[in-house]
């Protein structure tokens, strides 16, 4: 029986999981694939910095002033180290400083985005679910805050709170939460009118459960895009504030601080001290932005044209 045989030898392919499908569609665009690869590479470099950096740039035992202001490609005094991207006035290897700086920039960016995501999502859901006065009050705050440029909000907060890791994080969270709240409220309002939510409420389920278990999972797609783009925004804003000297303290040298340190040497054409950390920053933020754009296209096929 050839027909039966054919059925037997052609195994039914297992239905691909939604995540897999999503990844496949994501990688269909070369730009998206390259951006995602670059982002993963940078994240890996940041995580592995202490293992792969040629030098611990903040260990006084390994840094020597004898090696200060070396042009890219120079050998160190004792010949043990090559400064691929040059060194700064303290004799620090720029490549190592960039790898350590990436850790701080990515860490602060992701931490602030996650906290803002939690706060903003919770408040956005509350606004959408309860409506009325609660909604009006929360959304008035959101509108008010978004009518000011983020840089002014961050500047106001840091000018009043002062410099520091915790204060920079707080400022970044306050700057971002409103975007998440507005976004989640918008999608939640659409979901709330659907029948499955009516059914859940009709069953007498508690409001919290309906919000987080029924509504939230269906708001995830736009939220993911917002989270990606906001992380890029947070990293840029932190770098700007740190560059101005009002963000992270000098003990947490993020990419923005490295660029600031190199500024005074730029005029004597020692460009490498601030240009290379800047390139790292642009690659990082660019990769995240492109991944975000691609995610938006993949998650919302109508826009994919």
């Amino acid at each position: 029986m050839p027909a039966a045989l054919a059925i037997a030898v052609t195994p039914v392919p297992p239905a691909p999981s939604p995540t897999r499908l999503l990844l496949k569609r994501f990688l269909a665009s070369p730009v998206g694939a390259v951006a995602l690869g670059l982002l993963l590479l940078l994240a890996l470099l940041a995580v592995a910095a202490p293992l792969i950096a040629p030098q611990n740039p903040y260990d006084l035992a390994t840094v020597s002033v004898m090696n200060s202001d070396l042009v890219p490609g120079s050998r160190s005094e004792d010949g043990t180290l090559t400064f691929l991207l040059g060194s700064d006035a303290a004799g620090r290897d720029i490549l190592s400083a960039i790898l350590y700086g990436l850790r701080i920039s990515i860490g602060v960016g992701i931490a602030s985005a996650l906290i803002a995501l939690l706060v903003g999502t919770a408040l956005g859901l509350v606004a959408a679910h309860f409506g009325g006065q609660v909604d009006a009050f929360l959304m008035r705050i959101v509108d008010l805050q978004l009518s000011f440029p983020t840089i002014l909000v961050a500047l106001t907060l840091l000018a009043t709170l002062g410099q520091g890791v915790d204060k920079t994080l707080l400022a970044l969270v306050i700057v971002q939460w409103a975007y998440y709240a507005r976004n989640v409220r918008g999608s939640a309002l659409v979901e709330r009118r659907k029948e499955y939510v009516e059914a859940a409420i009709g069953q007498g389920l508690p409001a919290l459960r309906v919000m987080f278990v029924h509504i939230l999972p269906n708001c995830m797609a736009p939220l993911l895009v917002t989270a990606t783009l906001q992380t890029a925004h947070a990293i840029t804003l932190e770098a700007t504030m740190s560059f101005l000297g009002i963000g992270l303290p000098p003990t947490e040298p993020s990419l923005g601080l490295l660029i600031a340190n190199g500024f005074e040497y730029l005029l004597s054409n020692k460009y490498w001290v601030s240009i290379y950390p800047g390139i790292a920053l642009v690659l990082l933020v660019g990769a995240i932005n492109l991944v975000g754009d691609r995610l938006r296209a993949v998650l919302n096929p109508r826009d994919d044209q």
Binding site: S147, L155, T156, T160, F243, L267, N289, D293
Partner: protein, 324 residues
Amino acid sequence: MIDTLLRRIAQSAVVVLAMSLLAFAGIHLVGDPVYLLVDPAATAAELEAARQSLGLDRPIHQQYLSFLSSALSGDLGRSFVFNQPALGLILERLPATLELAIVSLLISAVIGIPLGLAVGLRDGGWLKRLVSAGSIAGVTVPAFWLSLLLILLFSVNLGWLPSSGRGPVGTLLGIRTSLASWEGLSHLLLPALTLAFANTAIVIRLTEAGTREVVSQEYVRFARAKGVGPLRLMARHIAPNVMIPVVTALGLEFGHLIAFSVVTETVFAWPGMGKLIIDSILRLDRPVVVAYLMVTLLMFVLINLVVDLLYVVLDPRLRTKAAA
């Protein structure tokens, strides 16, 4: 109409009051400025005397109330560092900042609007790809780092343009401006270009979207069918209708440029109020910081108020809704 107006003004007043409270209270959580102003070798008695003369020994709520009542009469305190009225210091630097913001707004309009129109008229093409790459660069490349690149290229390597400060200020058509001489203009060019960078991307995107929408309208297709030439079509039918939202957006962007000038002014040592605020934060010069924040926030509240009211005036639908 009057009702809406009054309600919006009351709202704005509450916002300004809340901000003043926030800024003032927050400033008091940071270090004690007395130590920055008095000789490090000062005795405890001398410190106390300095504290009293600056009014820093009174309870915080009293300091705030006296701040608020004098603020209403235009007195925002004296700078600890310059020993001058803080508001005067800010207003002294305002023209430099306004000049920078206006010139960079013009640059982004002159580059952005024609490009946006050109891209919006066609589908695809190399120009479209170039512009969309440019707009990704606009949100990705941080302004402060772009400034460093421009300094490296035009000041350090080519030596064409100065990297810091404001050049001589001359009088042109009765206005005191850097545009009066080449020397002044050369100092203005790099900061204005950097500031215009991100904004130009926004202008292009807005103009492009507007053009796309207008081109698909009946009246444009009818005009084209009637045989109206491409130049006249653009000048009389498309451009005017695209311009209304773009000009409104440009007005709003102006506020953003003033906020962003903090970064540009710091890099290029442009003597505007943005550089003053950063210097004052680093020197813990509280009155100047509070005065800057109040002036800027007030400016924003006013811009937003005017734009909101303009919408009500321009769009009759909003008017009936407000009346109902």
